[in-house]
């Protein structure tokens, strides 16, 4: 009897302890998802809603700008994630066994742009790339290169956005890799060295497989971060020139808050939601297998 009471009491306490977080979760996470699914099937004009079935999705698939946004988002995800993983692994493997001061200097200098945020970095880059009086445009002119307006040119705007986003955000991946590599037991390297293996061999055949969980983690968080890429588009390119750099998140934002197409915007949101859910499955699986 006493034991029974204790269990009931502990159960009740459990619910009470998760209640505040769970309530917020219901209001600001679960409800928006359900409501978003619903809205994507409606035509919304201010407060009047008319059911239109899959019309919003049909509208999306009839809009070339939407396809441009999907395509650009895919290019950004693939290019930025590959660059980030490759470069951060390279940096990590080069510095992880050096002295602590040097490691923290490298970590710091790559992480500072992350800290000062994409907003600030986008502003600086937009000044650097400004065709009239930006430093990079000036140097391009000095070197007699023909294209000076890198952001106004359809074929250069994507590489510029890729580079700026990569350079600003790579610091986080570097910190993760360095931490993981420092955690690898030293005797593994020593054993390889005794066998006469070169550093490159050690990095590729010992370090790379051992930090695989970190590689997966970095890949997934970066895919999801780039999927919602917005700030750099809004502040650096405005989606231009002529929609050449529009992304899904930017397209969603414009539909929702500029063109007042809330139903269409919700449909974009649903598509992005399903994408992120799909992409996070491997990570979630790994997390639950851990338990």
């Amino acid at each position: 009897m006493i034991r029974y009471n204790r269990n009931v009491k502990e159960g009740l306490t459990g619910y009470l302890f998760i209640a505040p977080q769970f309530l917020l979760f219901l209001i600001f996470v679960v409800y928006p998802i359900v409501e978003g699914l619903r809205l994507s099937l409606y035509k919304v004009q201010y407060r009047t809603e008319t059911f239109v079935g899959f019309d919003n999705y049909a509208a999306l698939f009839g809009d070339p700008v939407f396809f441009k946004a999907v395509w650009n988002t895919v290019i950004f995800v693939v290019a930025i994630v590959l660059l980030t993983v490759a470069f951060s692994f390279f940096v990590g493997s080069a510095v992880f066994d050096k002295n602590a001061k040097y490691v923290s200097f490298i970590r710091g200098s790559y992480y500072i742009p992350v800290m000062v945020s994409m907003v600030v970095m986008s502003m600086v880059w937009s000044f650097l790339l400004n065709p009239a009086n930006g430093l990079i445009s000036y140097m391009a002119r000095e070197m007699e290169m023909s294209t000076v307006n890198l952001l106004g040119n359809k074929s250069t705007v994507l590489p510029v956005v890729i580079f700026v986003t990569f350079a600003t955000n790579v610091g986080q991946a570097i910190i993760l890799y360095i931490a993981a590599m420092i955690g690898v037991p030293k005797d593994l390297f020593e054993a390889a060295e005794v066998d006469g293996a070169g550093r490159l061999h050690v990095i590729c055949h010992i370090l790379l497989p051992l930090v695989k969980p970190t590689t997966i983690y970095i890949t997934i968080i970066n895919i999801i971060a780039v999927l919602k890429i917005f700030v750099v588009i809004q502040l650096l390119t405005g989606g231009g020139p002529n929609n050449a750099s529009v992304t899904l998140m930017y397209y969603l934002y414009n539909n929702a808050f500029k063109y007042n197409q809330l139903g269409v915007a919700s449909a974009v949101g649903v598509i992005m939601f399903l994408l992120t859910l799909l992409l996070s499955v491997p990570q979630l699986k790994a997390m639950f297998n851990d338990k």
Partner: protein
């Protein structure tokens, strides 16, 4: 032969570290350009060829940012939003994480799986319904509209549960035998044990909310309710053609986080890695 190999290894190592160092400096250059441009006057800043080191030194751009724009108000808004979101998140998620880790109740693992599944979904994809809810709750143009959705994230539960899991159950038993109730056990025995986790959560979430640009852009529509990042970004559309003024604004937005990073670098690197390792 052995020596030759060692030498070759050295040169590969030196080459890659040179590249790493070079890129690190290159990566810092835009920030140098930001700071140095912000203290130039309006004509020097666009001079070609440029002054690599500012010839004239003026603080007037900074004065302009604070007099033409409610930049101080924006800064306070940002501090309030990031600080209060984080404090609330620590309260609610430490309670929930403790329950998930130590208390037995029906449906515990189901609740936990539901929570964790939302971990990777950015709130931005549901920005339309989220905005409408905020409208209904009267949270538009209010700092609380920026705060609540950030407290609703499952990230804190996820991170802190890993810490509670490492705390021995024996401690809880001992506290109970001593007659401590569940609340007291939680506050006085368990919370102190997960302090490092709370520290990591504080830093990670503070920065995350500080840079929560898109949501704050949508919620803070009038000038007074904007946060620092959103407010400063409006300078880009400002008619004022003075680039030094815009760079001063961007510097103002950069400095608080730079200070935090320099002061707490150790906690940062630890916090970020903890977030990844405690899977």
């Amino acid at each position: 032969m052995r020596q030759e190999k060692a030498k070759k290894r050295e040169s590969f190592d030196i080459a890659s570290n040179t590249v790493v160092l070079l890129f690190a400096l290159l990566n810092l250059f835009p920030l140098y350009w930001l700071f140095s441009s912000s203290v130039k006057n309006s004509s020097d800043v666009i001079k070609m060829p440029p002054d690599w080191w500012p010839r004239t030194f003026t603080w007037s751009n900074y004065a302009d940012v604070f007099t033409n724009q409610p930049a101080l108000r924006w800064t306070l808004n940002s501090l309030y939003v990031a600080g209060l979101s984080t404090a609330l998140l620590i309260v609610t998620s430490s309670m929930a994480a403790y329950a998930f880790s130590k208390l037995r109740f029906k449906g515990r693992s189901v609740f936990f799986i539901v929570f964790i599944s939302s971990l990777m979904i950015p709130k931005e994809v549901m920005i339309v319904p989220l905005f409408r809810i905020s409208q209904d709750l009267g949270l538009v143009n209010s700092v609380y509209g920026m705060i609540w959705p950030n407290v609703a994230t499952a990230f804190g539960v996820f991170l802190l549960k890993g810490f509670f899991d490492t705390a021995p159950d024996a401690l809880r038993e001992a506290a109970r035998i001593d007659g401590a109730g569940e609340v007291r056990t939680f506050l006085q025995i368990m919370l102190p044990i997960v302090k490092p986790g709370i520290g990591a959560l504080f830093i990670l979430n503070f920065v995350q909310v500080w840079n929560d640009y898109l949501w704050q852009l949508v919620i803070g529509q009038n000038k007074e309710s904007k946060t620092l990042m959103v407010g400063i970004a409006t300078l880009m559309q400002d008619l004022n053609p003075n680039f030094a003024y815009k760079m001063a604004g961007a510097t103002v937005a950069a400095i608080p986080m730079l200070l935090i990073f320099i002061l707490f670098q150790r906690y940062f690197t630890r916090g970020i890695s903890i977030g990844a390792v405690k899977e």
